[in-house]
Symmetry: C2
Subunit: 359 residues, 2 copies
């Protein structure tokens, strides 16, 4: 790999061991093995076991693979919503999930806060018809985090509804209590530091039962990636069609490496690096954290307002090999986004801070 360091919020910096695992995968012919072989089944199983341990995921959850986390939005709506989903919208990605509901002819509802803000649980008014509540742990577009305790409180207040958690740009950071979550999902090119092309869908038996009931009522739940079919194949550690075998292999290896490092250590290091960046953004008058409320400041995707023109600043810093993300859509000119994923070391974060300080 080159000497650049990517602080982009996805695709992102590769986890340091990816290259070695890729070489090993080629040596073992992983891209050529049959997805109906014992060898593949054992790769799928290894990946599941490592992820279960890393995330604290109980046995009543399946771990399923899709083409992307975006596809998971579609599959959740098709399989877990008969009529009404309820979306907590606080940025572009939570909004897109809400819009998917209408594209799929559901009566999706939303509660929205201004960009840069998070939700206070007391203010959330879930529609009584909602079958599923969609909440984002980490909004990649705005850098707003919803603390795990708040997510769990939402479920405690709505025990009869399914709760689905977007942790696309934060897993494995969030320490969710999976007794109070029914589904969660992420993609591998963010905090796992892998090449894009694989979505990971964690889903429990309640979601499966919902999909079964929808199929009994003759709803369309999809084709190869309908939940009942994905789950049926999962039970033998297979997939309905040829998956991204190499991606599944690499995900398992990185999850094992993260276990070796210790997920508690990874979380601590993430917090420490985030603190360094937020402290800097508050101390240097040319910057400020976009998210005002410290409680809602994401540890994994840090968004800052800039006095300088943001694209110019990004270009200037990139000359030193430090690649930051640009502000999302309308914020392109006046914001930077800095991914603080496990693949980015403390030293790299300090280097970026110095570069920004001297910019």
């Amino acid at each position: 790999v080159s000497q650049k360091i990517y602080f982009t919020p996805g695709p992102a910096q590769l986890y340091p061991s990816v290259e070695a695992h890729l070489k090993q995968a080629l040596w073992e012919d992983i891209p050529s093995i049959s997805h109906r072989s014992n060898q593949f089944r054992s790769i799928y199983q290894d990946t599941v076991e490592a992820l279960r341990e890393l995330l604290g995921l109980p046995d009543n959850f399946a771990i399923l693979f899709t083409g992307s986390a975006t596809e998971v939005w579609e599959r959740l709506l098709q399989n877990c919503v008969e009529e009404t989903s309820f979306h907590l919208v606080n940025g572009e990605f939570s909004k897109k999930f809400y819009e998917f509901g209408h594209l799929l002819q559901k009566k999706s509802l939303k509660q929205e806060v201004e960009v840069g803000k998070g939700f206070e649980v007391a203010d959330i008014q879930v529609d009584y018809k909602a079958e599923l509540i969609a909440v984002v742990h980490n909004e990649t577009s705005t850098g707003v985090v919803t603390p795990e305790a708040d997510i769990q409180q939402i479920k405690q207040k709505n025990p009869q509804r399914l709760v689905a958690v977007d942790m696309v740009s934060s897993a494995p950071y969030p320490q969710l209590d999976y007794r109070l979550v029914d589904s969660a999902y992420f993609s591998v090119q963010k905090a796992f530091g892998l090449p894009a092309g694989l979505g990971v869908w964690l889903v429990n038996e309640k979601c499966l039962a919902k999909a079964e009931s929808l199929e009994n009522k003759k709803f369309t739940t999809g084709a190869h990636h309908r939940l009942t079919n994905l789950w049926k194949f999962f039970e033998k550690y297979e997939t309905p069609s040829t998956p991204n075998v190499l991606g599944i292999y690499l995900l398992g290896k990185i999850a094992q490496d993260m276990l070796r490092e210790g997920v508690a250590n990874i979380r601590k290091a993430t917090d420490r690096k985030a603190q360094i960046l937020y402290d800097f953004l508050q101390q240097d008058s040319r910057f400020e954290p976009f998210v005002q409320n410290p409680k809602h400041r994401s540890p994994t995707v840090i968004v800052a307002n800039t006095v300088a023109n943001a694209p110019d600043l990004i270009k200037k810093i990139s000359a030193q090999g430090l690649i930051m993300g640009s502000g999302y859509q309308t914020f392109k000119e006046k914001q930077i986004r800095i991914a603080n994923f496990p693949a980015v070391s403390l030293a790299a974060v300090e280097q970026l801070r110095e570069a920004l300080a001297q910019s």
Copy 2:
């Protein structure tokens, strides 16, 4: 890579230059670059241009990316069929596409021939309601090919219907006249010799117009991967969500390598290797080609009946590092499948023939 040679019909033997391109991709940080960057747009464009030249694909076709070829079945049905699709079923894969129609609440119809047989154009009775005809160039399960001329005749007889061609396990071998085809698709882990995790969907403006008309009539055409959305992003060489960037990069590189080798040479070499294998299967009394009619014998996936127990034979031959595919489902015990993809050299095919002769 190891010393094994994979004759499996997908995932399959990697194209010889894949490893070098992977190394180069890591060197250039391809897995870390933004899918909204100029660098990504130019990768997408390079891949499109190489594929256009390789396949002879005119400008009225878009080249779109999905998670798999299986996903393309779903997207074709959602976007190009209001009520009725018509499927020429001659094996497990063509049958699954037909079944997807019912899962997606279309009135899908089929005409079926016995496994191991192909269709004679004169016998095909397309239902008058059919909006789309699904034809398989190469049935991976049975090794039956539908010659390009026959596919084109189907369109000539049905000019007002869309014709979609499955070339999952044959592209870039088939020399289709894309004036007489409306859509075609493949996955990269077959004849392109790449790691799995990317579907490639070739689709023309008539298909786009159909999707637009369905959306005007308030049909659900999908979410992020609805045809109108994929096409809109394609026009700027982007994708609706983060795609398998590395897969798209590698596909472009392999397509360029194949152009350097010359697609006519690749086709000639494929024919020659197929001839060697079919000749052997006919000469050795312990084998016979599963497909009786020479016209319908696939050049890229060669299926043989075996006198010996097929799993035993596969195991025996694999001890020499030559990995054959097993018979599909109910044929597991008495058939072998041999992929004759470009990644498998003439020398490798001769080595396999010798191993089978001495088995």
